[in-house]
Symmetry: C2
Subunit: 430 residues, 2 copies
């Protein structure tokens, strides 16, 4: 008999069906035994007549199949319950669970959550995080495809770093040394110039950062895009605004149950102000008496400017623009009016940087000159530079950290909660 | 002025527009100068009155913008031409191209194609390969989402291999040794058991295979899926049949121009026969006098059985089923009737294996017992085994090699042609 899921249950009122899932909880009330089954969509209430010894002995989290009649029941979690006729234990669970999964909140420390990831993910609130994350991914791709972007897949094993040699994981590639890619930056630019014009990639990136904070993981998912034939970085920002509006709207519509469970709301209208870094630093100084690192922002500064923008009714997002050239990568396009500044931006979401982007240098001579000024040897970038020698349009792009976006969207305080199996300074398992 | 692409041109008949792209070719006919521009969608014919010195001097592959009036012209590549008023060279190209891009075929050796990848990708026939590949990816994901699968992203840095220690790329992860993941196999199973039930991942996988053949690359894109609550591996095969039918149909519809350019057709009805390995070996012996390696098939055997099935009118695909347990990974579910065989399958497409899949062992004791029988230490698989201890449904899945699927679909003889920037035994760049 075909299995019916919790979502399909109400459509089968009066019929005899088979349901299957994990035993979330068993309650024996003397004259009735209730079993709450959990499947990929939600819960199914199973009712057995009388005290059922066999059922009461099934350990929570065991996988069982139940056959019975579906009775519509408004108070049941799926709007219907199954009146049990038969049941079968498909896979018994060890009763020694490391934590209880049927409480409203998991309420255990993050290390335990991550050590027993397959179990913590069974908790509905933890489960919901990655349902939302999958919707974010789908919305990101669908939006970009509707805007004529081509999806690409570029190597993560590279001969050298894109931005100098720091923070690279070294790798033995047969007889040679190689590295894990920090970013698809060079490749996405190359593919703009290879004629695709508009490309995006969802891929893993690797940063061998020593620091172990709630804002960093060492392997994360980067939502990258790059587009050619732009006039300025403003077009890239415009695209990101439209992209995020679509992502938030889709998540709001399709993940309403998950958002409610997590007690969060998605941002409504997305119209982030675009504030030059110097202005942001002034606001921090004037309003909060807070200094900033030279030519930058620290995490507290990011938090405060986010707060400031939100309190002034301008929403959850703010672009910080016109970063100093000294603080941006070699390929960043200088500002026309003041070449010590760049056509680049960060986007902060609820006080955390989730995006870095900007216009890139597209002129071969200018790029080579900048490499020399940065102390880099252009010969080491021969393959990257080729596309600039043979006709490269003005272009720009951005990268969004998927885990950061998810974490800010869902109010998770640690990035690790937005990664199924995070890798950090000390964690390599599961 | 907003740029108009080749695709939009006919909608602007009689208007003055700006177009931009790469100079594919310039032809000076004395009284007229023709420039063929190439953009992300196709070609635009630009006509300038008289002999235009300046235009004739522009090197092929330079990026230019042209403003002019759109005149409908059936013989022009986009159904319209642009009668030039102004033009601007946005980025001049070095005239010393390593190969010519405006010929019907590229006709250069694979090493040159890959060494100058950004340029070879500008050739329409090479460009088309990755337009099709992006559509394959989109169709794969859309199909699985419509079947209630959740997209996942799992680590590529792992503490140990999933299938023993062979063919792993070692990596320095801070003070420790780690490896690049050969497959998301364990993680996708774990996430089925973590309650998502049906998951898929599009991700890179790494195989440190020493051999350098046209059928292997060392970093490739794996289309992985795994599903719970199945009765047998037949359900996984059923899903793959429906999935590939959808992929082929979408590519046939949406990439008609690319397929025509490449001179290929997608398979029509997809109903691959399901032949046990032993039967395949008999057919090879009886029909072709061809022996097979013990308990397996060699590449020539794959090719011949594909040919046999195609010639008997049963299409381009064939499942080879019931592989010997000795040749399959430790987690492969044994066959009920004959435990020396397994509930596993390969799928061959036009004579090349593109998928391995099957039902997996879901019972904890059976899996631990199999590990011991395989000479593996279950303690080393503690995190993987946890999900089996706490309620794992019957499940199975498969992996499709994206580059292999693309190559067979498009008649590419070398897998490298189906990878934007392939990594092989000797190639680490670009």
């Amino acid at each position: 008999m075909r299995r019916v899921t919790s979502q399909e249950l109400v459509a089968h009122g009066g019929q005899v069906v088979t349901v299957a899932g994990w035993v979330h909880r068993v309650r024996a009330l003397g004259h009735l035994t209730f079993v709450i089954l959990r499947d990929r969509h939600g819960f199914i209430q199973v009712v057995a007549e009388g005290h059922n010894e066999q059922l009461a002995a099934v350990a929570n989290e065991s996988v069982v199949a139940v056959t019975g009649e579906v009775a519509l029941e408004e108070r049941a979690p799926s709007g219907a319950e199954v009146r049990m006729r038969e049941f079968e234990v498909i896979a018994p669970a060890d009763p020694a669970l490391p934590f209880e999964l049927h409480k409203k909140d998991l309420n255990v420390g993050l290390d335990l959550v991550l050590d027993h990831r397959v179990l913590s993910l069974r908790h509905p609130k933890v489960h919901a995080v990655f349902t939302v994350q999958a919707e974010v991914l789908a919305a990101f791709r669908d939006f970009l495809r509707s805007r004529d972007f081509t999806e690409i897949s570029t190597p993560k094993i590279v001969a050298s770093g894109t931005e100098g040699g720091s923070e690279l994981f070294p790798l033995r590639y047969f007889e040679r040394r190689a590295y894990l890619a920090q970013s698809p930056q060079f490749y996405k630019q190359m593919l703009v110039g290879a004629g695709y014009e508009r490309v995006f990639e969802v891929g893993h990136v690797y940063r061998a950062e020593e620091h172990n904070t709630s804002r960093h993981i060492n392997e994360f998912t980067s939502l990258d895009l790059e587009m050619g034939f732009i006039d300025s970085e403003e077009e890239v920002m415009d695209l990101e605004v439209a992209l995020l509006a679509e992502v938030f709207q889709r998540v709001g519509q399709r993940c309403a149950a998950e958002l409610e469970l997590l007690g969060v709301t998605v941002p409504g209208a997305v119209e982030p102000p675009r504030l030059p870094l110097a202005e942001v630093q002034s606001i921090l100084k004037d309003r909060y008496g807070k200094g900033s690192p030279p030519e930058g922002l620290d995490p507290e500064g990011e938090r405060l400017i986010g707060e400031h923008v939100a309190q002034s009714g301008r929403g959850d997002l703010v672009f910080v623009t016109r970063w100093p050239a000294a603080k941006r990568p070699v390929y960043t396009h200088p500002d026309a009016a003041d070449p010590t500044l760049t056509r680049s931006f960060d986007l902060l979401f609820r006080g955390l940087e989730i995006t870095t982007g900007g216009q890139r240098i597209h002129r071969y001579d200018q790029l080579v000159g900048n490499m020399v000024a940065f102390g880099l040897d252009p010969a080491a970038f021969e393959h990257y530079l080729e596309v600039f020698r043979f006709g490269m349009p003005p272009h720009g792009g951005l990268a969004i950290g998927l885990e950061r976006l998810t974490a800010r969207l869902l109010g998770l305080s640690n990035l690790r909660e937005a990664s199924l199996f995070p890798r950090d300074r000390t964690r390599l398992a599961p």
